[in-house]
Symmetry: C2
DNA sequence: TATTGTTATACTCTATAACTATA
DNA sequence: TATAGTTATAGAGTATAACAATA
């Protein structure tokens, strides 16, 4: 509602060209208010962190999602697919192929529950436990260590606390 | 390498059932070490924030990506598609349909550059400027306001600073 | 020869409906 | 009737190759 459709009187000779706004192309585009938008910075940071996670855990070929499943199975024996998937915010249909890939690599297994023969109890295999242990070591010594270096132990704790607050209470 | 394939002597009567590990199903699954993994919490927080952004800006039907494009066009007149897309970390091929949707809603327009007739200068339309202004108001008064309420102004600044550090230097 | 915008394409994530076998 | 796991499918988001127009 400010200026309408360019009734700007066309300038003189030098710049009668279509859209020559005299922009310094060597100058970087300005983020402006975008750099103050929490969601934007949050997303960029998240991508960076996942990228680094993948790099650090590359020797074991685990994605963040796969790692989180193994970690959850280790700490919660006897749970079924629905329970694990729900906890991670993964929809049951999408959890099937994720599990298939882990099971085909012999990292975990589905065991038909005797209590309720509809459900599959999930368990880590020995190989799964071993891979998880090695993955944890990589995450701690490489991935989280780099974050610690960047933020300092205090900064990391502060950040974690605030993100947890957002994830839980926002 | 710890315990091998379940040579566990089968227990007595009561629990001879297949995989009855006596789990309290009413008890929530424990996140365990996952709640200390920065990447995990970061991702969950990011999803929450984007969710709230969409809710707050729903009246204007703008996604975070679309909003960021409008914001960037407003602050950087005379730039072409490649420059804007690169700044946002969007690949040029994927930027085409994003722009198509904005242009079809008359929020921005592509103008063939006179300097380099290969490139399209991007400009906000009057409607684009108007929608952006209204979107900014919604973001500030609803979205960021809620975050401020949760974290406090200081907390929000601290969080932004740390996330920026990760996004830029990690 | 290189670059801009574009098309085509593919792969991952995410989301919903519906089936089967059990309960 | 309802639930667990599954299939099929569709839509975003993201990635690469290649083409036409232009430099």
């Amino acid at each position: 509602m400010a200026d309408s459709a360019k009734p700007v009187s066309r300038p003189h000779r030098e710049s009668r060209k279509e859209a020559a706004v005299a922009v310094d192309e060597t100058q970087a585009v300005q983020l402006g208010e975008l750099s103050d938008l929490l969601g934007y910075v949050l997303k960029r940071a998240q991508l960076k962190v996942f990228e680094d996670f993948l790099r650090c855990v590359a020797p074991l070929q685990l994605t963040p999602a796969q790692f989180s499943v193994l970690l959850l199975l280790d700490g919660n024996p006897g749970r079924n697919q629905t329970e694990i998937a729900n906890t991670l915010g993964i929809l049951r249909p999408n959890f099937v192929s994720l599990l298939d890939s882990l099971e085909s690599r012999d990292l975990c297994s589905r065991v038909r529950s005797a209590n309720d023969r509809r459900s599959h109890i999930l368990m880590l295999t020995d190989k799964g436990r071993s891979v998880l242990a090695r993955a944890k070591k990589l995450v701690v010594t490489k991935h989280e260590a780099r974050l610690n270096e960047l933020l300092g132990p205090d900064g990391r704790e502060t950040l974690l606390a605030m993100l947890t607050k957002i994830a839980e209470d926002f």
